[in-house]
Each structure stands twice: as C-alpha cells, then as structure tokens.
C-alpha cells in the first residue's frame, strides 16, 4: 500500500519565527505594556470625551503623520536590509540600515520639536489627563525609538562587516523584529492620540 503512494512534493521549510525566541518574548511583553496603556487611555477618555477632543485638536497632526511616514519607511528599509542579508549581500543590507537610521533620526528630531512646543505652551504631566497620556505615551514610545536606533546601529556595524548571510540570520532578524514592534505600536498610537475623536 505504502509503496503505491505517489512521492510527496518537496517539503516546504517548516514555519519558524524570524528572530530569537527571547526577543519575541520581550516583544510580547512590550506589546502588552503598550496595549494596556492604549486601553487605559481609551477608557480614561470615555469619562471626559469633550476635554479630550478639545486638547487633541490642538496637537500637531502634521508632525504626527510625518512621523508615521518616517517610521513606516524606516521599517520598510529594515525589511530590505533583512532581505539583502538573506540573499548573501550583508554589506548591501548595511546601506538600507543607514537609510532606516536616517528616518528614525528624523522621527526623533520632529518629536523633540513637538515636545519643545508643548513645554513652551506650559503643557505638563499634571496639566490634564489628556496631556498626561499624550506625554506619557509618546515619551514611552520615544524611548523605544531610541533603543531601536541603538539596535539598528549594532546591526549596521555587523552588517557592514558582512556578518549576516543566509546561514546567519538570527541577529538581524531579532533586531528587525524589535524595530517593527516600535513601528507597530506607533501605527495605533498615532490615530488613537492624534486623530480619533
């Protein structure tokens, strides 16, 4: 009976996580932290929608949108870097990482401008519940962008030395996954805090 079976098609590679299990556990914890923060924001807003809407309107949505574009683009560049490493072109991938770092730096610059404007307008953690959330959420995310940049920098140093290749993807995939997480949470943060009323 067995012999009569037709030969099986060549097996596809079994499903695997891109990156180390440890970084994924860490990412899950981060997602949980941001998730709790978002939900807390949403329910705090439900108690006082008018106040939230009024102060939300005063935010700089242009800056928020440009920052979203920058993070998405950085993420895309990181994807290209990973693909380049997979094709055995680690050094080529390093250039994509530099581009990603450039976008991230742009994000940081715009964010600092936003904070400067907010502080000069007298906005602080204690000025209102909305501003508490606005500053806390964006600053918590801001710290993650900075950490993400350190990680991308480390990937860049390694990629430049040609360290990554089809048989050594663990490091670059782990770092990339972390960066995408930073992007992912911003994709919710931006509409939630800046736009949806």
């Amino acid at each position: 009976m067995r012999a009569a079976c037709p030969p099986l098609p060549a097996p596809r590679t079994p499903p695997t996580l891109a990156g180390d299990l440890a970084i994924w556990i860490f990412i899950l914890a981060e997602l949980l932290a941001f998730g709790v923060f978002f939900i807390a924001y949403a329910f705090a807003r439900a108690n006082n929608p008018e106040l939230f809407a009024a102060e939300q309107l005063a935010l700089n949505r242009d800056a928020g949108a440009i920052n979203t574009l920058l993070l998405l683009t950085a993420s895309y560049f990181v994807v290209r870097a990973v693909h380049a490493a997979e094709a055995g072109q680690s050094r080529h991938g390093a250039r994509w990482l530099v581009a990603a770092l450039g976008c991230a730096a742009g994000f940081v610059a715009i964010k600092i401008g936003e904070y400067a404007a907010a502080f000069s307008a007298g906005i602080s953690l204690s000025s209102s519940t909305f501003h508490m959330f606005y500053l806390s959420l964006t600053f918590f995310h801001f710290m993650h962008v900075l950490l993400g940049m350190v990680i991308l920098g480390a990937l860049w140093l390694n990629a430049r030395r040609g360290l990554y290749g089809p048989h050594n993807m663990n490091g670059i995939e782990s770092g990339a996954a972390y960066w995408h997480m930073v992007d992912l949470v911003w994709l919710i943060l931006f509409p939630l805090v800046y736009v949806i009323r």
Partner: protein
C-alpha cells in the same frame, strides 16, 4: 532562492506604499475635522489593517507557527476592540 527574495521585496514594497497611503488617508480624515462613531470605527479599522500588514509581512509572522500568529494578531484585534468598546462607551 534569489527569485523568492525578489518577489518578497516586491510584496514589501507594495505594502509599504499602501501603508503610506493609508497614513495619508488617516491624516486627511483628521484634517477634515469630523468625528463620530463611524469615523472612529473606520480609522480604528485602518489602523488594525496597517498593524496586520506589519505583523504578517514586515515581522515575517506569515511564515511563523500558527500559535505566534494567533498571539500577535490576537493582541492587535483585542487592543483595537477594547479601544472601540471604550469609544462606544464614551459616546454622548
């Protein structure tokens, strides 16, 4: 192999452009100044779709074990649903 990577590159590029477009759309709705339940639901839906694209393609979870897909997408759905619930609760 290289063929696979080229097609993966193409897919990611298309998604990137779509993600940029979706962001501009969200921004434009915000500038339009309208609010309300429908708009909130629409924008949350767009955010969820963008998140799913990043999770499945950029984070390469499309080729990860099912459990991990469920966890990450489940996070996205749960967070968006609870935000939606809170907004619905806060409707005047």
């Amino acid at each position: 192999m290289n063929h696979d990577i080229r097609s993966a590159n193409r897919r990611s590029t298309v998604l990137w452009v779509l993600l940029l477009a979706a962001t501009v759309f969200t921004w434009a709705v915000g500038e339009g100044g309208s609010g309300g339940a429908a708009i909130a639901a629409l924008l949350l839906g767009v955010a969820a779709l963008k998140g799913a694209a990043v999770i499945l393609d950029f984070m390469a979870l499309a080729r990860a074990p099912l459990l991990w897909q469920l966890i990450t997408l489940g996070w996205l759905v749960l967070v968006c649903a609870l935000i939606g619930l809170a907004y619905w609760k806060g409707m005047p």
